[in-house]
């Protein structure tokens, strides 16, 4: 287990400023303040740090996109919405080392020329928001963060904002919309947030873990960061592992760490000594791996990509050999059907349909063409939506069906039974498309079923 980001996380007193300071907190911020902002950006760029929120975009590059004009207010938004199923690493960081998170936010803000920063946390993290707010009060009382940060003349105000329960608020433009007091309907890009972000001002959105890494990098240098990890995957990664393992939890690993070693070592092996059936390596939005595919992989961006999946958020979900993959997929599909914001048709309708077809398959009411139908619905969502949730919803459906096809085929009716399938009252009524009522998306809740007019 690596000890770069989390080296102080096991000390409960680390939440208190004095303890954190003794462990080196805010030295990175101090170092940053002694440099012009461009040099901070350059240092982060040199470290090779990539976004830890899911997409893996190079952080230094993202920061360099900010070119504020006279009179503009630049914003740094720290994304602590963490709602990707199977992901709870930011939860761990905020709970155990809130000053590291605040330091990262301060450094990010300074680097992009922002004097305003928000930390947007999912509503369910209200108790963590208190931990973070207490740390912020201490840092402000000590003049580390405030109108004159550490006597440098740099002025920074950090505000913690809680959400109210919606996965889409983790998507960067959904987050911005939510923070503005709107429904969290993601925005069409371009323009990108770097140009028109929060309140139309230049904005950077970064994940909690990304900013925490930035704090360490400024304290210890880009080279020390690159001593960890491999090639294009520099540094360490927090992996939150859950599901059918003996020791679920958050572990920091060197990027490039062998996946099976992690599974057998840190995660304690499969629960109850069972066999491994499958792994989702980076939250439900990335394709699943069979045990065979997973065996030779290492935990880093390139290795995951070579296997057709992604490291994503590092939310690793492990399936034992007693799992019904269609049942598991239904659970995941229902998540996307519930969380689709309803702004664009392919995602709003498609996520509902995928869940509904899976449900009828599992209820023994499937039709012979249902697997093809599921894949086709996915094809019609992918690449046709405003934000990444649409594409994300397709990945599990497609990969589960392709890789565990016999389990799905076993649910298909004999041709004779198929003819006998009748609508049980939840199906699409004649002349009307769209998922049944229980798949209501957020837009239906207000505007009435989007399909009612058809």
């Amino acid at each position: 287990m690596a000890q770069y980001l989390t080296r102080n996380a096991l000390d409960p007193a680390q939440r208190e400023l004095q303890t954190a300071l003794r462990a080196g907190a805010y030295l990175g911020f101090k170092q940053a303040l002694s440099l012009p902002p461009q040099e901070v950006v350059a240092e982060i760029d040199a470290s090779g740090l990539r976004g830890r929120g899911g997409a893996g975009f190079p952080t230094g590059r993202k920061w360099s996109f900010i070119h504020a004009k006279e009179g503009q207010t630049v914003y740094l938004l720290c994304n602590a919405d963490e709602s990707e199923p199977g992901t709870f690493k930011d939860h761990y960081l905020i709970e155990r080392d809130p000053h590291l998170v605040l330091e990262g936010v301060a450094i990010g803000a300074y680097a992009i020329g922002a004097h305003r920063a928000y930390i947007y946390m999912r509503g369910e993290y209200a108790s963590l928001a208190e931990t973070l707010a207490a740390a912020l009060r201490e840092a402000m009382a000590a003049d580390i963060i405030g109108p004159n940060c550490m006597n440098s003349g740099y002025d920074l105000r950090i505000t913690i904002q809680l959400g109210a329960g919606a996965y889409i608020c983790g998507e960067e433009t959904g987050l911005i919309q939510s923070l503005e007091g709107r429904r969290a309907y993601p925005r069409v890009r371009p323009p990108f947030p770097a140009v028109h972000g929060f309140l139309q001002e230049p904005t950077v959105v970064n994940n909690v873990e990304t900013l925490a890494c930035a704090a360490r990098i400024m304290a210890e240098g880009a080279e020390a960061f690159k001593d960890h990890g491999t090639g294009r995957s520099a540094g360490t990664k927090l992996i939150s592992v859950s599901g059918a393992v003996e020791r679920p939890g958050v572990y920091e690993v060197e990027l490039g760490y062998p996946l099976m070693e992690f599974l057998q070592g840190e995660a304690g092996g499969i629960r109850g000594g069972r066999g491994l059936k499958a792994i989702i390596p980076g939250g439900t939005s990335v394709p699943v791996l069979t045990a065979e595919e997973a065996a030779p992989l290492t935990i880093d961006y390139e290795s995951m990509q070579s296997a057709g999946t992604m490291l994503g958020s590092g939310g690793m979900i492990v399936f034992g050999d007693d799992t019904s993959m269609p049942q598991a997929l239904l659970r995941i599909a229902e998540f996307y059907a519930h969380e689709s914001c309803g702004e664009c048709t392919p995602c709003r309708e498609g996520t509902g349909w995928m869940a509904w077809v899976l449900r009828r398959l599992l209820a023994g009411e499937g039709r012979p063409g249902d697997l093809g139908l599921l894949l086709r619905v996915g094809d019609n969502i992918e690449g046709r939506t405003i934000c990444g949730l649409g594409d994300a919803s397709v990945q599990p459906v497609r990969s589960f069906i392709r890789k565990f096809r016999p389990e799905f085929e076993a649910l298909l009716p004999e041709p004779v039974q198929a003819v006998a399938w009748q609508s049980h009252g939840h199906g699409p009524r004649t002349g009307r498309f769209g998922p049944p009522a229980e798949e209501a998306t957020r837009s239906e809740a207000v505007d009435g079923p989007p399909t009612a007019a058809l």
Binding site: E82, L179, R182, L199, P248, R331, V446
Partner: protein, 152 residues
């Protein structure tokens, strides 16, 4: 309608930015916390307070799962139905809890103390099956423990 503390919190959010809309999310949260619902009356009240149209406030309110249109019980018991918790027996626990409380998800106990909710991943998957009582993480849960919890 709201306490002084609540109004102060909303005022603080309003002071953050020039846009009056910006305080809406906080206003909804605070109102839900005190009134246990954001129904028509609360919507009108918030709209007046922030100088926004009631339709706009309602549109935003109904977007969020934690803002409820009808009153919840004194406490909200949220059981995670997410994939990791599912793999750790969440469905069995949920069924047992429902039976213990004598209600289905979405319903409130007759004494008005608990509203039961099934929710998506709450970001506490290493304590699966995860559950929350209001803002507190209480997982991993066994039905028995929940029974004790609700008797407290």
């Amino acid at each position: 309608m709201l306490s002084k503390d609540a109004l102060r919190e909303i005022e603080a959010a309003r002071a953050e930015e020039d846009s009056p809309r910006h305080a809406l999310l906080t206003a909804l949260r605070v109102t839900q916390g005190e009134r246990r619902q954001v129904g028509p009356e609360e919507i009108t009240y918030i709209a007046d307070l922030l100088g926004l149209s009631p339709a706009l406030v309602q549109g935003v309110a109904r977007f969020y799962d934690q803002i409820s249109a009808t009153p919840t019980g004194q406490h909200v018991l949220s059981l995670c139905r997410g994939i990791s918790c599912y793999l750790c027996g969440a469905d069995e626990v949920a069924a047992a809890v429902g039976e213990l409380l004598g209600i289905r998800p979405g319903e409130t106990t007759a004494d008005g103390r608990f509203t039961l909710r099934l929710v998506e991943c709450v970001g506490d998957c290493d304590r699966a099956p995860a559950a929350m009582v209001d803002d507190r993480f209480v997982g991993p849960v066994a039905a028995v423990a929940i029974d004790n919890l609700t008797k407290m």
